[in-house]
Amino acid sequence: MADYFIHLATIIGVWAILAVSLELVVGYAGLPSLAQIAFCGIGAYTVAVLSTVCGANFFVSILAAMLAAGVASFLIGIVLNKFRGDYYALGSLGFNVIIFSVFLNWDEVTNGPLGISGIFRPEFFGIDFYGGISFLILILLVLGIVFVISQFIVNSSFGRVLKAIREDEEVIQAFGYNTSFFKSVIFIISAAMAGAAGGLFASYYTFIDPTSFRMMQSVFVLAIIILGGLANLYGAIAGSAFLIILPEILRFSGFPTDTAAQMQQLVYGLILVLLMLFRPQGLIGEYKL
C-alpha cells in the first residue's frame, strides 16, 4: 500500500512540475499554449536517448533535456509570437502534433511506436534514486526548485509585465515594452522546466513511447491549471493532486465491474463540469479567463 501512495505522489509531482511550468505561460502571460506536453516529450526522449545510447549521466541528461526543450520553444516561439488568442492555441496544438509525429516516425532515434526501454534511473555521487521513496524525494526537490524559480519570476517586475501582457498587450507596448521578448523568455523558461519534467518521467518509468505525449495530455495539463486556479502556483500543484487523485478515488467507488470504467469516466467528467460551474476561478485561482 505504501508503494502505491509513493507512486501516486511521484506522479503528482511530475504533473505538478509540468503544471507550474505551464502556469507561467498561461496563467501569468495569458498565452493559451497547448504545446507543453511536446516540450515534456522532447525532454523525455533526450534523456532516453542519452541514457540508452550514450550512457550519459542522468543529471547531464536532464540539463540536455532542458536545453533541447528550450531550443525547440525558442524556434516555435518565433512563429507563435505572431499569433494571439485562439490562433495561438491552434498554432501550439499544431506544434504538438508535429512533435508527436516525429516521435512516432523517426525510427532511428525514437524507435518509433515501439518506444525506448531500459532508461537508467538516476545516480548522483554514489547516491542512487532507484527506490520509490528516493525517487519521490528527487521529484519533490526538482518541484521545489521549479516552484522557487517560478515564484521569483512572478514576484519580480518581469512577472508584473507578464500579467500586463495578459491583460492588454497593446497598452504595455505603448509604455515601451517589447512584449515579444518577454513572451519568448517566459516560453523558453517554461519549456525548459517541462523538459526537466519529461526527463524525470522517462527516468521514473524507464520506458517511453509516443503515446505518452499525445495532444490530449497537453489538454490535461491545461485542465490541471484551470481547475487548480490560474495565476496561482499553489493552484497548479493543487490541480495536479486533484486530477490525479480523483480517478483513483473513483476506482474504489463500488460501481459494478462491467460498468465501472464508464461510470468512473462519467462521474469524473461531471465533477469537473460542476467545479467549473460553481467555482470558475478554480480551486485557488487569482485570474478568471
Partner: protein
C-alpha cells in the same frame, strides 16, 4: 522648437481617408487640443503618432527622428506615452501594479532583478496620491468606477517619464469635481516642459487649457485666443 513634426501624413482605411495629407508642427511645452466629429480621424492621428497604426504616406518626426514604421515600444522609449479612447487598465491587477507595470525596467533581464523597486514604488505612490487613488492602491483595478479608471490612466502617465503625452478624451466620464484636478495636472505637466496633445469634445476645456487647436478634418493648427483676463 517643434518636438513633433507631421509631414503630408495620410492614412487610408478601405477607401476612407481619415487623415489626408496632414502637415503640422507642435512645439515643445505646449498643449494642443484636437476636436472633430466622431469618426473624423482624431484617434487615428494619435494611433499614427504612437505607432499603433502605420501611415500610408508622409512622416511623423519626433525630436528630429523619423518614426514611421517604428514599433509602439520604440516610440514610447523616445518619450511618448498615451491613453486610449476607452479606458484600458489592467483589470485583474491591483491599482498599484497598474502603475508599477508600466514604469519599471523595460529590459527583459533587468526586470527580473529589479534593483530600484523603492524608487519606482515612490513614483507610483506620488502619482496615485495626485489623482486621489492612493487609498485604493491595493484594490483590484476591476473594482474602480469608470471615472476612477480614467484617473488611473492619468496616474500611469504621470508616473512615466514621458515627454510627449497623448490623451484620448481624458475628461470623458470623469466626475465634475475631478475634471478640475485633471485640468490642473495637464497644466502642471505643461509647466514641466512636457508636450500634451489631447482629444476633447468640450470646447470650454479646450479653450481653457490649449495653446493650439486642430480641428479635424481641418489641416492647420490654430492658436487658441483667450480674453486677456483668462490668459
Amino acid at each position: 522648437m517643434a518636438i513633433i513634426e507631421i509631414n503630408n501624413l495620410s492614412k487610408n482605411f478601405g477607401g476612407v481617408r481619415p487623415i489626408d495629407n496632414l502637415s503640422l508642427k507642435i512645439n515643445k511645452g505646449t498643449i494642443t487640443g484636437i476636436i472633430g466629429r466622431n469618426g473624423s480621424g482624431k484617434t487615428t492621428l494619435m494611433d499614427l503618432i504612437s505607432g499603433m497604426v502605420s501611415a500610408d504616406a508622409g512622416a511623423v518626426i519626433i525630436d528630429g527622428k523619423i518614426m514611421n514604421d517604428k514599433k509602439p515600444w520604440t516610440i514610447a522609449r523616445a518619450g511618448v506615452a498615451r491613453t486610449f479612447q476607452t479606458t484600458r487598465i489592467f483589470e485583474q491587477m491591483t491599482v498599484m501594479d497598474n502603475i508599477l507595470a508600466v514604469i519599471a525596467e523595460k529590459n527583459v533581464f533587468a526586470s527580473l532583478f529589479e534593483k530600484d523597486r523603492a524608487h519606482y514604488l515612490k513614483r507610483a505612490k506620488k502619482a496615485l496620491m495626485r489623482v486621489g487613488l492612493l487609498e485604493k492602491e491595493n484594490q483590484m483595478a476591476s473594482k474602480l468606477s469608470y471615472g476612477q479608471r480614467r484617473l488611473l490612466e492619468i496616474a500611469r502617465i504621470l508616473a512615466s517619464d514621458a515627454r510627449i503625452i497623448l490623451l484620448d478624451e481624458p475628461f470623458s466620464g470623469v466626475h465634475p469635481a475631478m475634471i478640475k484636478i485633471v485640468a490642473e495636472i495637464l497644466q502642471e505637466m505643461k509647466n514641466q516642459g512636457k508636450t500634451i496633445i489631447f482629444i476633447e469634445h468640450n470646447i470650454g476645456l479646450v479653450r481653457q487649457l490649449c495653446d493650439n487647436l486642430l480641428f479635424i478634418p481641418g489641416k492647420r493648427l490654430l492658436p487658441v485666443c483667450r480674453p486677456r483676463s483668462e490668459s
